[in-house]
Symmetry: C2
Subunit: 390 residues, 2 copies
Amino acid sequence: MSIPANPWTLAARTEKMNSSVIREILKVTERPGIISFAGGLPSPKTFPVAEFAAACEKVLREDGKGALQYAASEGYGPLREIVAAGLPWKVDPAQVLITTGSQQGLDLIGKVLIDPGSKVLVETPTYLGALQAFAPMEPKVVSVASDDEGVDLDDLGRKADNGRFLYVLPNFQNPTGRTMTEARRAALVERAAALGLPLVEDNPYGDLWFDAPPPAPLTGRNPDGGVYMGSFSKVLAPGLRLGYVIAPKAIMPKLLQAKQAADLHSPSFNQRMVVAVMQDGFLARHVPTIRTLYKAQRDAMLAALTREMPAGVTWNTPDGGMFLWARLPEGVHAVDLLPKAVDQGVAFVPGTAFYADNADPRSMRLSFVTASVEQINIGIKALASAIRAL
Amino acid sequence: MSIPANPWTLAARTEKMNSSVIREILKVTERPGIISFAGGLPSPKTFPVAEFAAACEKVLREDGKGALQYAASEGYGPLREIVAAGLPWKVDPAQVLITTGSQQGLDLIGKVLIDPGSKVLVETPTYLGALQAFAPMEPKVVSVASDDEGVDLDDLGRKADNGRFLYVLPNFQNPTGRTMTEARRAALVERAAALGLPLVEDNPYGDLWFDAPPPAPLTGRNPDGGVYMGSFSKVLAPGLRLGYVIAPKAIMPKLLQAKQAADLHSPSFNQRMVVAVMQDGFLARHVPTIRTLYKAQRDAMLAALTREMPAGVTWNTPDGGMFLWARLPEGVHAVDLLPKAVDQGVAFVPGTAFYADNADPRSMRLSFVTASVEQINIGIKALASAIRAL
């Protein structure tokens, strides 16, 4: 048989697609003995295994055949109702689309809203997974300057023209851990509406606050002007791959068609399990235990940083979530530090991964939720030692 | 606050996206009392509910925290190994990508191989879900003439120039139920290789043979020239949303990046459940029971058609799978028949839904797996009555 060497022609968009730097780093850090501040993995201690076991048993006993059959692309009705009822503004369950993790929400939004060359505005820095999800649709990604309170509205005004949307992660942001203030939220929603700029609001971490809840979501202030995404990955477990999108009527039909074409529907069995687990107010009892655990680990990391780090290293104090953002001294680059740190037995993600452009080479993301307090103490000491050696 | 009427601009590709005609029909047929030959729903009788319950219990007991955590985008190692070992040609587990149903395989293949305007070749008729999955990537879909033995190679030769791939479903095709012959498979693989045309082979139904297995897959005859897709939806249950892609080295890295961006990974819990269910050779005991059931239902439908249908109605005899393809008398169109049939309490899918172009308006798809034998007898009688009335 005559076979040409390679009959495949790749789509042009594949040139814009890349493997996640983080997933590559994670492979390195899977070596035994490495303490990892790199991954965004929730602490497995928080997974309600016994409750899931009971939910599986119940779902399969009560309607096993229904749970295992094909189902509606929109999602399981009772789960859509629970999601709608749990949000702090009036949401019709018909606006809820259940997705295969909130990552899929980003993929669907990209398909429906981004043409090749479309301008998409993002925070500086921003969630890497969003950049990856949008990349196949070939947007022109534009970073909007951001400070400790959130997006810089003057810079937004300069750059918003013809933007398809602004992607924001207002609560305990990945990667910086920062939270947009109430004043900035109010001003941003007003400014975006005046600019005719839709908002894409991603809120996977909002429930993981430590001392007080974050200000209310942006989308509830102008529901027709925004898409909102949430996730069960951080309050229940990521291995079920369930998230949701709240979409206005202007785009819901196309998001639903994109969802149907992408994977028909998210696993019906998993959706029913989550409904079963959440009965009787389980989350109201469970989520506070996650907050307590993560706050203790954040505190341990802050204390260790204060104790161990040489002068010139700075960091912030996140009010919730999973990540802390640190900055190395003048002239020290996080990408140079990483191999030295791994030699010392500790890993992190260099901040450059999270910038669409003009990356800060001195920045680094440290997760405080996967490692234990004991590991945090050892790991931060090792990291400080690697910084000193550099 | 000044809010523009509608700030959203939809991507141009959304004009190519449509809701599935079938899903719209299914909504109508959910009315109580309607006997449906419309859906592609496996018989719930075949779902191994007790085995899944045992598998859930085992997975959560043995490594619940692992099963509920984030996992590799490629899929769960033991499941990739089982998939590779189960195929009738030598497959390295590294070539296996676990997907959120095989529908997601189509979405990823579209992203990686289709540019706007790319020529994609399909059978006549073809699987509607593939047309939907490819649509957002805006291909130019070209139908290749097909006969009872499979794709017409002369027509393929005339149309193949610059084609990105040929999409084929060789076993018990959806919608026609037909199976590509051994001779045609051998000739097609040879011709495609000579033309430098990659094959995308979809095989969700291959295990559902009635009297003898279908000929060997196309991909095994030239693994570097094809992508192969399989599914657990028809041999275990669709509600878990698990399928797989076998990809050659030329495209696996980009498929994996597309997968990572689309939903990070398919549910790790579900993948482990499937591994647990399949232990001890479960499929070898279970699948024959599905074959027996579906064969009896096919036979019942064939007998009812012979008994009830007026002259001029023709149909084929599928050797497996879930669907039978029928043709109405000259001048009778399936889209006109459908509302009359629903009035009589029976539903089906007009064949026009499955053509990329030049649809046969007299064709119709009848599923024989969802309805019971008793319902098949009643439903075919009602359908015949509706045809006579028309």
